[in-house]
Symmetry: C2
Subunit: 209 residues, 2 copies
Amino acid sequence: MKFLKIPAATITRLSLYTRALETLIKEQVTVVSSKRLAELCGVNPAQIRKDLAYFGQFGVRGVGYYVKELLFDVKKILGLHREWKLAIVGVGNLGCALVAHENFTRQGYRFVAAFDADPMKIGRKLVTGLVINPPNEMHNICRDKQVEMGVICTPADFAQDIANRLVDAGVKAILNFAPTQIQAPDGVKVENVDFSVKLDNLAYYLTTG
Amino acid sequence: MKFLKIPAATITRLSLYTRALETLIKEQVTVVSSKRLAELCGVNPAQIRKDLAYFGQFGVRGVGYYVKELLFDVKKILGLHREWKLAIVGVGNLGCALVAHENFTRQGYRFVAAFDADPMKIGRKLVTGLVINPPNEMHNICRDKQVEMGVICTPADFAQDIANRLVDAGVKAILNFAPTQIQAPDGVKVENVDFSVKLDNLAYYLTTG
DNA sequence: ATCTTATTGTGATTAGAGGCACATGCGTGC
DNA sequence: GCACGCATGTGCCTCTAATCACAATAAGAT
Ligand SMILES: NC(=O)c1ccc[n+]([C@@H]2O[C@H](COP(=O)([O-])OP(=O)(O)OC[C@H]3O[C@@H](n4cnc5c(N)ncnc54)[C@H](O)[C@@H]3O)[C@@H](O)[C@H]2O)c1
Ligand SMILES: NC(=O)c1ccc[n+]([C@@H]2O[C@H](COP(=O)([O-])OP(=O)(O)OC[C@H]3O[C@@H](n4cnc5c(N)ncnc54)[C@H](O)[C@@H]3O)[C@@H](O)[C@H]2O)c1
C-alpha cells in the first residue's frame, strides 16, 4: 500500500477531509460514515475510502470512522502534526493579509521571516511583530531561522528571481501567488495560487454555459 | 468540435496560455509555435494543440500561431473580450487586497459593489471609491448594478449564507475564499480558492517526498 | 451462539485525460 | 511551378483516476 504512487488529487482531498472532520468535532459528532463525510466534502463515498486505503485501514466495518482518530491520522499523513516555518517575500496588500491570517497559525503554519524590496518597508514591523528584511538577507536569515516554505507575494516580474533565492537558501517548498510560471529544480515543490485563473473559469462558464 | 464536452483542465490551461501570450506580446514576438508556448507554460505541445482544437483551427501549418490573433481568439473563448461586474462580500484583510488589486481591472474584472456586516465599515469608502454596504442590501444592489460574479471573503461560518443571498440576487458565478464547501443550485458555478489546501500539499511533500 | 444490519475495504469496470506519431497543408526557395 | 521543410491538427493508444459493486467483517439484537 505505502509504496503505490499516490495521486495528487488524493492529497488535496485529504486536506478537505481534515476540514470537514474539524467541523464535525465542533459539532460533537464522534463517528462518521464515508457516506456522510462524502456529502460534506462533495465527493463520492468510495473515493474517500480509496483515498484512505492508500495509507492503511482507519475505519470500523459496520460503524464508520471515529472522527477524532481519523482527523489525527489524516493530519499525520499530511504532516500537520508539527509546526512549519514559513517566510514571506513581498509584504504588500496580499502579503499583509496572509501574515495577519490567524487560521494559518492555528493550523501550524508560522511566518518566521519577511522580506520586501521597498526601502520604506525595510525595518518596519508587521502586526505580528515580524520585522521586514531586505531580499539580499534572504539566504542568511532563512538558513538561520530554518525556513521550510517560502511564500511569494511580489509582482510577477520578480517571482522567478525570488524563487531562485529561496531555493538557494535551502527552501524546498514554495507557494507562489504571482501570476507566472516558476521554474524550480527537482526536489523543490512549487504550488501556485492563481485567482485570475479561477475568475477566467467563471467567465468561461457564464459565457458558454 | 463545438459539441464535445471540454475538460475543465483545458479551460484552466487556456487561461495560462493568455498570460504567456501577453508576455510574448510585450517581448514583441509575433509568431509562436506550440513547442515554444508549451515550454513557457510547462505543458506538452500536443496538449496545447489539442486544447485549441476543441474550439477551432487557429494556427498556420509550418509556421505556428500569430501571437496577437491567438490571444484575441483565446480571450474570446474564455469570455474575456468584455467587462465583468463583480461584488465583494467581506471587506477584511483579504477582501481589501482583492479590491485594490489593479491586475483584475486590467483583465476586465470590475468590482461594482462591496458588502460587509461590520457596522464600523458600512458607509465607508474603499480606495477605489466603492462604498461598503450592509449585507441585507445585497439583493437590491446586485440586481441594480447587474452584478455577475460574487466574491466571498467572509469567515467560513457565513460563507454559505452569503452564497445563498448572492444566488438569490441572481448571481450565477461565485469565487469563494472561505475555507468551506459551498452548496449552490444547478446553474450556479462555484470556484474555490483555497490557500491552506496548497500549504497542506507542500507539507505532505516535505514530509513524504 | 447465531442472525441481522450497517459500512468498510477492495477487485473489477468505466471514464477520461494526456501523449505519441503521422498525415496534412502552408510557406519559402530554387 | 515544383519540391522541401516545418509545424499544425488529429486518430489512436496508453495510463491514470474515479466509480461501481460486492465480499469481508464488526456491533448489536435475538
Ligand atoms: N492582491 C491581490 O488580490 C492579488 C490577486 C491575485 C494575484 N496577486 C498577485 O500577488 C502579488 C502581490 O500582490 P499585491 O496586491 O500584494 O501587490 P503589492 O504591490 O501590494 O505588493 C507587492 C510587494 O512586493 C514588494 N516587492 C516588489 N519587488 C520585490 C522584490 N524584488 N523583492 C521583495 N519584495 C518585492 C513590493 O515592495 C510590495 O510591497 C502580485 O504578483 C499579484 O499579481 C494579488
Ligand atoms: N487573509 C488570508 O490570508 C486568508 C487566507 C486563506 C483564507 N482566508 C479566508 O478568507 C476569508 C477572509 O479572510 P480575512 O483575512 O480577510 O478575514 P478578516 O477577518 O480580515 O475579514 C473578514 C471580513 O468579513 C466581514 N464579515 C463577517 N461576517 C460577515 C457577513 N455575515 N457578511 C458580510 N461580511 C461579513 C467582517 O466584518 C470582516 O470585514 C476567511 O474565510 C479566511 O479564512 C483568508
